[in-house]
Symmetry: C2
Subunit: 450 residues, 2 copies
Amino acid sequence: MTELRRRGAGDVDSTDNTSDKENYGDDRLSLQGDVDGECDLDAKGDTDVPPSTADTDNTPQCLNKALEGLPPRWKNYWIRGVLSIAMITSFFFMISMGPVALIFVVMTIQIKCFQEIITIGYRVYRSYELPWFRTLSWYFLICVNYFFYGETLADYFGALVQKEEPLQFLARYHRFISFALYLAGFCMFVLSLVKKHYRLQFYMFGWTHVTLLIVVTQSHLVIQNLFEGMIWFIVPISIVISNDIFAYLCGFFFGRTPLIKLSPKKTWEGFIGGFFFTVIFGFILAYLLSQFQYFVCPVEFNSETNGFSVECEPSDIFVMQQYTLPSVVQSTLKWKSVNLYPYQIHSIFISSFASLIGPFGGFFASGFKRAFKIKDFASTIPGHGGIMDRFDCQYLMATFIHVYIGSFIRGPNPTKVLQQLMTLQPEQQLAIFHTLHSNLRERGLIAPTE
Amino acid sequence: MTELRRRGAGDVDSTDNTSDKENYGDDRLSLQGDVDGECDLDAKGDTDVPPSTADTDNTPQCLNKALEGLPPRWKNYWIRGVLSIAMITSFFFMISMGPVALIFVVMTIQIKCFQEIITIGYRVYRSYELPWFRTLSWYFLICVNYFFYGETLADYFGALVQKEEPLQFLARYHRFISFALYLAGFCMFVLSLVKKHYRLQFYMFGWTHVTLLIVVTQSHLVIQNLFEGMIWFIVPISIVISNDIFAYLCGFFFGRTPLIKLSPKKTWEGFIGGFFFTVIFGFILAYLLSQFQYFVCPVEFNSETNGFSVECEPSDIFVMQQYTLPSVVQSTLKWKSVNLYPYQIHSIFISSFASLIGPFGGFFASGFKRAFKIKDFASTIPGHGGIMDRFDCQYLMATFIHVYIGSFIRGPNPTKVLQQLMTLQPEQQLAIFHTLHSNLRERGLIAPTE
């Protein structure tokens, strides 16, 4: 969640971590204030949701011990600071482990987020004893994951799939199998309907499906982005994190004007300052990463080594180019042109999205938490809340990057086109061959006699 | 909804229409009985939903007048009978109007279904005065439709899109534009959040999205199926309708054993009898339609006539073939072989799905209506309820047919492969050309000297 809050009275602390927990005390108060106002409406809804999911303390013993003497407020700052640094460090560590490890990390995070949101659903509807439903939610999660990972596998592991007979079968009938699996769950749902719980069961059905839509489909996009090149994974994530930090700092030092009622601590100053610094950060990060094949090359499955390779002739956007500056800028800076990776220009759009539209993902999560009167999604990360509290903006970003790549970066993938071509009937292949032949000849790309 | 009900006491009527309205009186009673049992749970939900959405009578004046003298029960039978015949007749009429008209019909039905379900949501949550939300729901509907219809347009109207400059732009950036439109709606939602209504607004957000998932995505599949050939549109729809009728009749005449608690009027006899007769009906219908190019040819946009054409060399599954019968059958029937269209064999799978799995769509809708204590989705069709009451099984069927075609019928579309090929870079096209060339030569499909 993006933080753009005003400076609290005497609240001087420069920890650059990014959650709003330290200010929760105030938030909580105003929330309590809301409850009365909401009661008339909520009487139709669920007034008495168990208030907080974050009632357990997962703080490591050693950290608790080291911070024993501090007043609770400062202790909390420290816990969050240490955990923030730990998370950023482990992010670096995971990147160094390569794409396969990252896929598993994304999958784990996705499952955890799903579990957090579903658990909130159970609490909201107090549906602890709904027959079958806990099982069914997880079954749907497995089906949808089977579908998405299978699609990716068939797309990017083409070479591997072609080699193994059973995989070929699974790939050929992938959608049918996925649909059959889902249908089985759907029928189980219908059969599990019991008079006493009808409405509750439909609510949980809807809750599960909206969660799948938000968490699973978008996680899948994170992985698809990763396959386009590690840079499409690392830069967006880093930009979102850095925007959190810069917006927090700018809000902390210059914040005066409240931004949105939903998050009373956020300010226009933090919002605009965050935008400004995030663009600079993204621009530099893009420059640094564009230089390495490890980051810029698409992740491809190599059937010889049976592993992933990230080696290639970098595409145009990762090749340094000279840009002539507009004449106004020329006269001011005395520079005629600059050398840039085109990806750096793309990074400006990514940063702008992360800092201008991305926060809406956070506002949405904020509103959701307030609607269901919970403090955090869970209490997984001490001082930060649930995994979902840290990833609310990342999901929206993943979708943006996916659409961005599809619209502005990547044309159709020649490997995939060739694969499709090879699955056609021989006479269809021949027809395409002749069309292509005459077309290439007309355009002078092959000799007329060839 | 599939009807498989037991014969009511003295309830002799052979009208072959397909809704369960005439038995609603009994249903209603048992529902009222449920209410008490549900109260403890529903106290957390919404106990007091306005009971019925179908409180207006849309029956045409002339019909009311003609049936004036009849007792209400018989009057209702007649209304439903006349309307059923009217609907089936208009179905024939629409088919004769061709694919473009059908696309508009599907779109209209989809919008009406969306409106019916959203209206129920408004009643359930009594969210009449939610700021913006009515507008936002419809906005999301437009976005999602823009996305889906755009994808179809770009796929099937390739030739048209290539000709027109602005269309080319829209096609190239279609996903980006759709995403931006959706995002605008998402941000509007976040900005429209007001303290007093938080939870209500999130419920309506979820309700809208689940409706989009069920109605709009599946309607889109109906249209995609239509493009594969009118037969993929007509046969599944007719099979679902006929299964409704046959199951009703079998249940009416032979029904003894209750099938599922959710629909107390349905019986195993109706379920199995419906399956049996539906398979026969589907088999015959498949035979009749397979003979006409109008039905079996994919619907393709013809850039010369600027219209749709349904002319082609029929694919293998629509060419009569000889099948040798198993020896057991041979000795019984004294036939050695039969001539069939392969599509007739596919029709058996379609019929089986329609009569064995399809009813679960109806059970789901049934459960939904009971959960929210409504009689019908709306009162659009006199005697039948809402449009959604008639189409609940059709949507599940559409998805099945879509997956079925993708898995068992259609390989990749050569026209699409060629289109993709042409959007590649010239050097990529050359590389593919040479790969294809040597591959075809190796397989002896072109002469070594060519």
